[in-house]
């Protein structure tokens, strides 16, 4: 179903992700650019990072990231430069600040709650009296008789 994501991207530009002419000569800088690109969203795609996206806009962003790196920016500076320009929408990994804390804490908090509930349940199961099986109803007795006599 991922064709949905790509549909618009592909319509926009028949190019492929990173192009040979974009790659920086310095392998260390290029490696940093690739790593940064993986966390940045192609703004016109669906949840695709700019490293993988085929859209023109993604290419522009990739080139921009590399320009900043060549200019001597640190990784953090590049990220904050892009966030200033495009908003936090550009970050694929949401920041752990403000309301977003709820998002990050939701999983662990739910796990603790679930473990607590499970522990309570298990303690009850351990001490519960082994309920005697319910006596057969008249209908079941008749059926049993029928089976046994066959």
């Amino acid at each position: 179903m991922r064709w949905l994501i790509l549909y618009l991207c592909l319509l926009a530009a028949p190019a492929h992700a990173v192009q040979p002419d974009e790659i920086l000569a310095d392998p260390a800088l290029e490696a940093r650019a690739r790593e940064l690109s993986k966390g940045l969203r192609c703004l016109v795609c669906r949840n695709e990072n700019i490293d993988e996206s085929n859209a023109d806009l993604a290419r522009d962003l990739r080139v921009l990231v590399r320009e900043r790196l060549v200019a001597g920016d640190s990784d953090e500076e590049v990220i904050s430069y892009l966030v200033d320009r495009y908003g936090e929408y550009v970050l694929l990994q949401p920041t752990a600040s403000g309301e977003n804390l709820i998002l990050w804490i939701a999983g662990p908090a739910m796990l603790l709650m679930a473990l607590g509930t499970a522990a309570l349940y298990l303690r009850r199961r351990r001490s519960a009296p082994d309920a005697a099986p319910a006596p057969l109803s008249a209908e079941e007795k008749a059926r049993l008789k029928e089976i046994l006599e066959k």
């Binding site: 790659i23 695709e48 977003n100």
Partner: protein, 656 residues
Amino acid sequence: MLCGMIAELGHFTLILALMIATVQAVVPLVGAHKGWRGWMAMAGPAATAQFLCIAISFGALTYAFVTSDFSLRLVTLNSHTLKPMLYKVSGVWGNHEGSMLLWVLILALFGASAHWFGQSLPDRLKARVLSVQAMIGLAFLAFILFTSNPFLRLAEPPFDGQDLNPLLQDPGLAFHPPFLYLGYVGLSMAFSFAVAALIEGRVDAAWARWVRPWTLAAWMFLTVGIALGSWWAYYELGWGGFWFWDPVENASFMPWLIAAALLHSAIVVEKREALKSWTILLAILAFGFSLIGTFIVRSGIITSVHAFANDPERGIFILAILAVFIGGALTLYAARAGVMEAKGVFAMVSRESALVMNNVLLAVAAFVVFVGTLWPLIAELAFDRKLSVGAPFFNQAFTPFMVILAVILPIGAIMPWKRARIGRSMRPLYPALVLALALGGLAFAVSTGGSALAPVGVFLGGWLIAGAGAELWQRAGRRFARLGRLPRADWGKATAHSGLGVVFIGIACLMAWDVEDIRVAQVGETFTVAGYDITLSGVERVEGPNYISTTATMRVTRGGAEVALLHPEKRIYPVAAMPTTEAAIANGVWRDIYLVIGDPQDNGGWAVRTYIKPFANWIWGGAILMALGGILSLSDRRYRVAAGARKAPAIAQPAE
């Protein structure tokens, strides 16, 4: 003349199906309440009739696609005379209206199967199950007829159609939706059984035994459907990604996780008569997530950019269905869950407790995916923040649950019911643990970077596979001859668990050891990537049935010996004016060689991308193993006995 009427016939039988569903929803339910046998007995034939009507309707639409009847709006928008026959057929469900028709067809098929194979079900339970199933059918048939009618005619039929989206013209994607729907919709059976049990106020081992095969089948189909989608993404998108944490993917992954939890908790109900109300809740949630998935995909709510169906009317209709069914079921659950009394008693350390842990981890993992998927929407509505939640979040927030799950799985699986001792249960597992540690160590030694991904993934995968083997060995009393006589359910369990291990190894190795090379290559040039010599021998233009292709010929050799001759392509579909990449892949057990041809460069030569993808096929191989495990379990004697109980009451059931 008659042929020209076939679409109308399909439309008519669809309306007829809606009416049958209405009757099937009401009459058996009243009958079951009042104890009227005749009314209850209506459910079965009605389910069969409803299925036949929808099948005729679906057949009519397929006929229209196959014969390229462009007087139908849907055919014009999604087909073309030049399209290969396979894609004319798959085009039926390659669009919103047709896929919804397939959805109700499968829904009716499951309902009818419950009648066909459910001869041994108690009349009252069966009547209620089929009634609930018909209510769901009714809702979706109304949805189709009122908002998404596939049989609309065009006043002036065009000469030819607008073609199916080229990305959908692919065998992997042709069969991806049917499997996914078989899974999604299969979970409706578990839902119907759960609601019927709530109405009856009774859940027992027999109930769990009826529910489990349906859930297992649905889960298997979901597994295959998700794997097909992932495999397609891998070879079609041109860089070998296999999972994107895209909302649409998450929509199918959440029901899969919940269904996996449900499968395991139903075992506890069946064997130990505990976890009853939790199992009912899971059954409701599993189908609830299927509906949420449908809602996410069909409404386009998560992102405004959506090519499939961005129609608020449809979204609101599905939201209403979701609210009525899940809201209604949960209300019923709140009122009646207290009636389900647990019987089994067990210690803190026991198989039961291990399965509770399995359920906690799977359910919370599904919850994390759920929150992550909806967070952009919540943040925008509640806090006015426009943000993204992508793969980095899910990798960090979701993976730990799977790691813990994998660590405890082999131990929990080997523990006895009621009461266990960890030390004693671990004893048969020590060889497996040593083997897994050795494999993890090997992976660590091979890794050049500092990443722990590959060693940890290989260790966990090895632990799962070897643990499953050790458990089989233990169950067979450490005797080879007895391995073959173990129940198929034991084999199914071991196969599915080791399948999960295979997936772990595949994902970890692929993500850790992926090699990539991007360059401009001249025709005739040879370059080396990870020990492979790759030559771009030539590039030519080829005309396909409904596309034009730029096909490269590339020779891969290693140490002078030819490894593969590959033909990566770049295609243009003129009717849809859309390009696609067709990567060429030399598949292997240990690695795939993945070649992509890009654009011609201004100063001569072509952009060429080479990837070496280690262990890639293990991901889908593992998924197939998991599904295979499900089939083995389904074919177990217990289920055949349960299904044939009415026909052969003389067969004594072995004590377990």
